[in-house]
């Protein structure tokens, strides 16, 4: 095969694969043998090289804004996904977990343990003692994690376990203990789904300043746009308060999510008009919107901002 000579047309057919380095040893040998003795093919190969390099110019690099938007949407969808899975498939997952079928059940352990408690209470009410051969249904096995393993001198193994025992507490939102737990769960960095649920519950008590502080914190600092949206929802009725307005102004200028920036514009400009006595009070908001006009990349948000500024006859530019 390597001894077979190639004509110019056949050699040119192989140029692209040759330049990609994807020819077999024999094929490459035949191409190079031909090129050694053919000036016109060597020139054609150079042109092919230029054309292949020119193809790079039509490559698209996705914008950082698109990547950011993809990441935020995925974050929200994953949070929804885990919530839905926990709500709808709890029984299958619970039985999978008990039978060891699921290898992806780490995040379900708390749900499984809680369910076990609930079942324990339920079954204890309806089943006579002793019906389960002495198994205490109300007992919850603690979640264990092996911390250290050490061989002991007698041939046994010593294992140090970290254990977490699940416990259910319940009470109204006015109960201080419940409130402290909820305010802490609203900041749990490991679980956006938990934070979203907690913020939604806290939204019902946003008249309390400690809850409003927690919602403001979530609005400004939560990594998850879904949680921030829920916090914004809870703060809506308090959009006239100075601290809440300051937080929304910050959202307007710094939040990466265009939906949140749009909502911030709506809430900050609600009831605002040129003759409003609060115009002077809201110079800061107008200044922030004028600044937003300079830096906003999203066409829709820009348009909403422009409309809001025009409604109060404010300039859409800064001076």
């Amino acid at each position: 095969m390597s001894g077979e000579l190639m004509n110019c047309a056949a050699v040119k057919d192989f140029f692209a694969l040759y330049l990609y380095g994807e020819l077999s040893f024999d094929e490459e040998e035949r191409v190079e043998s031909h090129l050694d003795g053919c000036v016109s093919c060597r020139k054609a190969l150079e042109r092919q090289r230029e054309v292949q390099a020119a193809l790079d110019n039509i490559a698209i690099e996705p914008s950082p804004a698109l990547l950011r938007s993809c990441r935020e949407e995925l974050h929200m969808r994953l949070a929804e996904e885990s919530q839905t899975a926990a709500r709808l498939g709890w029984w299958e997952r619970f039985t999978d977990m008990l039978t060891g079928r699921s290898s992806h059940a780490g995040w379900l352990k708390p749900a499984g343990a809680l369910t076990l408690v609930a079942l324990g209470f339920g079954v204890a009410r309806f089943v006579p003692p002793g019906a389960f051969g002495g198994v205490e249904m109300g007992m919850v096995e603690p979640a264990s994690r092996v911390r250290y393993v050490e061989p002991a001198s007698d041939g046994k193994v010593q294992i140090v376990l970290d254990e977490t025992r699940q416990r259910i507490v319940s009470g109204g939102l006015n109960d201080q203990k419940i409130r402290v737990l909820l305010l802490s769960a609203a900041k749990d960095p490991s679980d956006p789904g938990l934070r979203a649920e907690t913020v939604e519950i806290l939204n019902g008590s946003a008249q309390s300043s400690d809850v409003r502080d927690a919602l403001t914190f979530a609005l400004l600092h939560d990594q998850n746009a879904g949680v921030r949206l829920k916090a914004m929802e809870g703060l809506k009725p308090f959009a006239q308060q100075t601290e809440v307005r300051a937080a929304m102004t910050q959202v307007l200028l710094t939040d990466s999510n265009p939906g949140l920036r749009t909502q911030a514009i709506d809430l900050l400009t609600k009831g605002l008009n040129q003759d409003s006595p609060s115009m002077s009070y809201d110079r800061q908001v107008i200044g922030a919107m004028q600044e937003l006009m300079q830096r906003e990349n999203n066409a829709y948000v820009r348009q909403r901002c422009k409309t809001a500024l025009e409604a109060v006859k404010a300039s859409t530019e800064t001076y």
Binding site: D13, Q48, N57, I60, P62, C70, E81, H104, G106, A299
Partner: protein
């Protein structure tokens, strides 16, 4: 090599942690690959909306099926298998619909998505400018004429820099079949760009 092995070990640990329900580990995995996934989808589909759909669907599938990943192949290959299948579905549907104009309406007026790509810098040489403009136009046309599989193999080889062996693994075929596909794609391109070669 040591660095690569270290990286692979780290990735294996991340995958195992994510399989155990560690959402931070899953997020790290996403961030390690999501830019190249989005770039692949964007270049194949030439539409930010479709690329975003593929991105979401691909990582949701990874999330839902991660417990089934058994390290039989690299995570990169497994992920790209999902992404390329989704992109091929999109491209096949589009071929059937025979539509997808690249012109889209935006707040600033009609915009050709393809023109979002910056022109080659030609440093004021008008002849080269015409050459590059004409070449871009011709390349766009011929890429649109390739079959979805040819387009995919060409994209993975030329723009993503994958070797044919890896492309075969990703697409569930042999290296030889991937090579034939690339050969056909480059032949079509050569025929269409004949004046330039």
């Amino acid at each position: 090599l040591a660095q690569k092995t270290g990286g692979q070990l780290e990735e294996t640990a991340l995958i195992r942690a994510a399989q155990g329900g560690d959402s931070a580990a899953f997020e790290q995995l996403v961030r390690a690959y999501d830019q190249s996934v989005l770039r692949l989808a964007m270049n194949l589909l030439r539409s930010p909306e479709d690329a975003q759909d593929v991105y979401q669907e691909a990582f949701l599938r990874v999330y839902k099926n991660l417990d089934k990943f058994r390290f039989d192949c690299s995570f990169h290959t497994w992920l790209y298998r999902i992404v390329t299948n989704l992109c091929l579905d999109h491209m096949r549907k589009r071929k059937v619909r025979k539509e997808e104009p690249t012109i889209v309406a935006t707040a600033e007026g009609p915009l050709d998505r393809m023109d979002a790509v910056p022109e080659e810098r030609v440093d004021g040489d008008p002849q080269r400018y015409l050459f590059s403009g004409e070449l871009r136009k011709r390349v766009k046309e011929v890429l649109a004429e390739l079959t979805p599989r040819e387009r995919m193999v060409f994209e993975l080889r030329h723009y993503q820099g994958l070797r044919l062996r890896r492309i075969g693994e990703v697409l569930g075929t042999t290296e030889e079949a991937a090579k034939n596909c690339l050969f056909r794609a480059t032949q079509k391109m050569r025929a269409a760009l004949g004046d330039f070669i």
